[in-house]
Assembly symmetry: C2
Homo-oligomer: 431 residues x 2
Amino acid sequence: MNIRLYNAKILTMESEEILEGEIWIQNERILYVGNGNDTEDVYNKLKLQSIIWDREIDCEGNILMPGFKNAHTHSAMTVLRSYADDMPLQDWLNKQIFPVEAKMDGEMIYHLTKLAILEYLTSGITSIFDMYLTPETIADACVDMGMRCVQVGGVNNFSQSVELVEEMYQKLNGKNPLLSYVIGFHAEYTCSKELLQKIAGLARKYKAPVYAHISETASEVEECQKRYGMTPPVFLDSLGMFQYGGGGYHCVHMTEADMDVFKRRNLNVVTNPGSNTKLASGIAPISEYLKRGINVAIGTDGPSSNNCLDMFREMFLVTGLAKLREKDASAVNAFEVLKMATVNGAKAMNLLDADVLAEGKLADIIMIDLHQPNMQPIHNIQKNIVYSGSKQNVKMTMIHGRILYENGKFADSIDTDAIYAKANEIKEKIC
Amino acid sequence: MNIRLYNAKILTMESEEILEGEIWIQNERILYVGNGNDTEDVYNKLKLQSIIWDREIDCEGNILMPGFKNAHTHSAMTVLRSYADDMPLQDWLNKQIFPVEAKMDGEMIYHLTKLAILEYLTSGITSIFDMYLTPETIADACVDMGMRCVQVGGVNNFSQSVELVEEMYQKLNGKNPLLSYVIGFHAEYTCSKELLQKIAGLARKYKAPVYAHISETASEVEECQKRYGMTPPVFLDSLGMFQYGGGGYHCVHMTEADMDVFKRRNLNVVTNPGSNTKLASGIAPISEYLKRGINVAIGTDGPSSNNCLDMFREMFLVTGLAKLREKDASAVNAFEVLKMATVNGAKAMNLLDADVLAEGKLADIIMIDLHQPNMQPIHNIQKNIVYSGSKQNVKMTMIHGRILYENGKFADSIDTDAIYAKANEIKEKIC
């Protein structure tokens, strides 16, 4: 497909600048980004005098920008949305979530992941960093829907082995251009020391980064201290876990020494403010991470602890909660947040080919509707998006050159009613 | 107009219960709410055998509920959205906001209020509690757009006199069924003691409640302590301000004694978590208010300190921030929040005729779209709305029996492009 998006304001995310112009897409990649007056090179490169466009879309002065990277989620937990709420993390996990998860099978997870993908599309999310059971059916759901997905291993004592993670690592990387897979485990508190050592060994074998939930709650940190006399980041690092980098999801309760580990090992922080708020886990020290040059990305976490998959809510919370924590209204400005939701996410997920809007990059692009009352008047578009934006402003979501959501409608290939019916059927069966 | 809304799930907000049925509307009032099998009484009362419907709308199983009450806002500040951000309240007010406001006239405020009303409609907000300059042009904007509006006086040392408030009190109450006006002042820190005494006198003259910004920031409380040796609520009460009730906007930094004043005087708290977050003002002690039986309503505050007018964001923040403040994930449950956004708001705004969905009440009704991925599957609709809802779910907004927003489109009488153009023109002129 050749698609031309013209009459646009373009926030490439290479800088704060907003360009007036157009974007050309050929199949899955961006062919041209510019003001439309310097396109000769493109024709020369293609050895063409003109391009036959499958679609030319008048963007009506709206914003084109890179799609959001949801750098931490458990998509299939859609089935648990509004099932168990208003309780702290440990009770929520042990009493409500784990018993239901024990009843899930791969087919269910396939359908429930599809439901999450619908919501991602409405929120301008073009890539997800997903940790859950049955990676192969998650991969199928993403490929069938057209979602870009980095999966991460979720090794733990009960339901996911190191062997499975190694198998998936070999099987899913290179299987489809939308898919990749990285090594990971659930959390320190759900893995024995022996298991963690095995994971560290796997990471060394493949010279690969490792990701996990890290220091999400105060009690997680306390218990690790009791068990090993160390905080989770220091303990995990002592096992040689992060020789090739990786990152932590949540990272709410972190000491100076923890941040030193993150800095030294070049680890990524993925913050999940919606989940941390709803589970009363606390406020992550985002300004501290930024001060140290630690890469911070943003995730929604699963829909059971949030309960939605909305990068606009998360973006507002990242800066809002930082302001509250620091008692400083200037903490973490809007453009910094936009970077977290796009380029920093791409870095954390090793999607460097899909980070900014530039020639040769993968065409993961969203259109933000400025012709909505919450975007008017226009003093500063970046601030409008972060402080005032909502799903209502997502006018188009394109992944890998394919438009999957446009003007409130999903692509013809997507049957929303069937997906909703399946999710409710599964809910009846297992909840 | 006679409108029949059928095939609906109805959350009347008289209880947590959800009824399957229909709502009939005749002109501005609700004629019937029920399952549709017991409508004979209605016909008998009307002495009719059938009703000729102007419209019959199939709600497709979606939710009908009372519209949201935005119990604190400064609508015309739309022009300052994303103009000044990332700075604390006092600097923001004195250096950025007040100088621009000094250049505003009534006509500008008319147009800028209309822009805010567009956004309210997209967020299911059917009544606003608005404090700003030039009440008469705000009233005109609301009547022209069809928005229900309670205005509150904003007396202060610089730009609004007690005399104006008395004049508006007489002029705007009873002028139009969409309008009412209550006595109020900006805040303790922008009024001299003499002025505050005059306002208290006015309240006694009319046996009327009084509303103001109260204890929004820590420095406001400190300064009041320095000036008068008392916190704002205690000081204001000592002037006889609240003999006939009223309420406070924000109420972030409150002592036990302050809460006692609120309880004793039956004052309403209007919380504004989006604004308090963005300006780093702090987290209001909502659970404390609820424990004492103080009525808590929700406001967006103006779009300059938020920067959007979105009751879904506010609802999530009310419960989310309470959970963080209390370190308790069970703090302030979803239905409690829905009450704040509807019936409690109506109580605070003295709109008792527009609080719940019941026969004889004013028809201020919204439809929440459950056929969106963020509302699926359905375990608990109230939780879905509070924890996962967004503007995207507002399928219809009806005020005073008129449908003003439906399926993403505004009523034909509303010209959005003209409103956007005006707002940008005014922005160019005064910012």
